[in-house]
């Protein structure tokens, strides 16, 4: 669905946006963030082969902390940030530790304070990425309040989570907090109209660049 030039530009944009978001996370937790090179795919859910590891975007079977930020109107979609629950707990503990709060080591359960922290961290990260898409498109995005969920994902339903969106801009982007095993994944689902707007803007930019 994306030609090589479009894919190259989109990857570059995402690279910059995720880099900025990672920098923000690094400032929150005072740790270096190791970024993987983002891989951008615009895929139709119906084309996804559940066995294809490239689209196995929900880690393996297990409990996940999932935060989502819905946005509209001219550019509509939903962005997700996911961590395995035990890693989300580590992230929350690091943040609360920075604040001087007492944390109980090795307690795997997510308390209300943990969820509040994770919601705030997710909000900052997803805003950093989605907001830049708004800046790129020169439109104002309206946000719905971020939502958080603890979900259990089995191997068979890893794709069903996004079934309401026909096309999905998948950012195969993960990041790792240095000295920890905390790895997060970001996925952005866009409506077809929004994808068209994004492609039109990218094409205009590419056209200008290549005369």
């Amino acid at each position: 669905m994306l030609n090589d030039l479009q894919k190259d530009l989109l990857t570059e944009l995402v690279n910059v946006y995720v880099g900025q978001a990672a920098n923000m996370l690094s400032e929150i937790v005072d740790k270096r963030i190791v970024l993987n090179i983002p891989e951008v795919e615009l895929i139709s859910i119906s084309d996804v082969d559940p066995g294809d590891r490239r689209y196995n975007i929900f880690f393996s079977e297990g409990h996940l902390f999932r935060s989502s930020l819905q946005f509209g109107y001219e550019f509509q979609g939903k962005a997700f940030l996911m961590f395995p629950v035990e890693q989300a707990k580590v992230l929350a503990n690091i943040c609360l530790g920075e604040l001087g709060e007492t944390v109980i080591p090795n307690d795997p359960s997510l308390m209300d304070t943990d969820l509040d922290v994770l919601k705030e961290v997710s909000n900052v990260l997803l805003n950093a990425i989605i907001g830049e898409f708004g800046n790129f498109l020169e439109i104002k995005l309206e946000y719905v309040l971020p939502d958080i969920e603890l979900i259990y994902v089995t191997n068979s339903d890893q794709q069903i989570l996004l079934q309401n969106e026909v096309y999905v801009l998948v950012l195969h982007t993960s990041f790792l907090l240095a000295d920890t095993d905390v790895t997060g994944i970001i996925v952005i689902a866009l409506s077809m109209n929004s994808i068209s707007s994004l492609l039109a803007k990218m094409d205009a930019l590419l056209e200008a660049d290549h005369g």
Binding site: L96, D116, A128, G131
Partner: protein
């Protein structure tokens, strides 16, 4: 010196309270969790300085700011938001703010915030 913090995240509420108390211990601080509470507290508490988030449940920060500016053009208001869009910043700047800081609150931004509160304090 009276400071009103309007913020839905308990984590950020605590962060801001600690920051302000550590630097300006004589500050009197009130906290609201959304724009509606913030507006009500603004009327009762009559703060000298307000720091507010934008995206909050119920009445958001931008609407609260608009309502406050209908009756008060002097109270200093700082936005502390994760929203990095230029259009959002332009809109709230047109409503009259003393500053716009993007989350997360780094040491540098925290320093800026404290300086702004202290400037407002000494201007009293």
């Amino acid at each position: 010196m009276k400071v009103l913090i309007v913020e839905d995240s308990i984590f950020v509420q605590k962060l801001l309270r600690k920051l302000i108390v550590d630097h300006i211990p004589e500050c009197e601080i009130q906290i609201a969790s959304n724009g509606e509470q913030g507006y009500n507290l603004f009327q009762e508490f009559r703060p000298d300085f307000i720091t507010t988030d934008l995206l909050m449940p119920g009445l958001n920060g931008q609407e609260m700011l608009r309502m406050i500016r209908e009756t008060d053009s002097t109270v200093k208001i700082i936005i502390l938001s994760a929203d990095i869009q230029k259009t959002t910043r332009d809109e709230v700047e047109n409503l009259g703010i003393s500053g716009f800081l993007n989350k997360p609150l780094t040491a540098e931004k925290a320093n800026t915030l404290i300086q702004l509160i202290q400037a407002a304090y000494h201007a009293e």
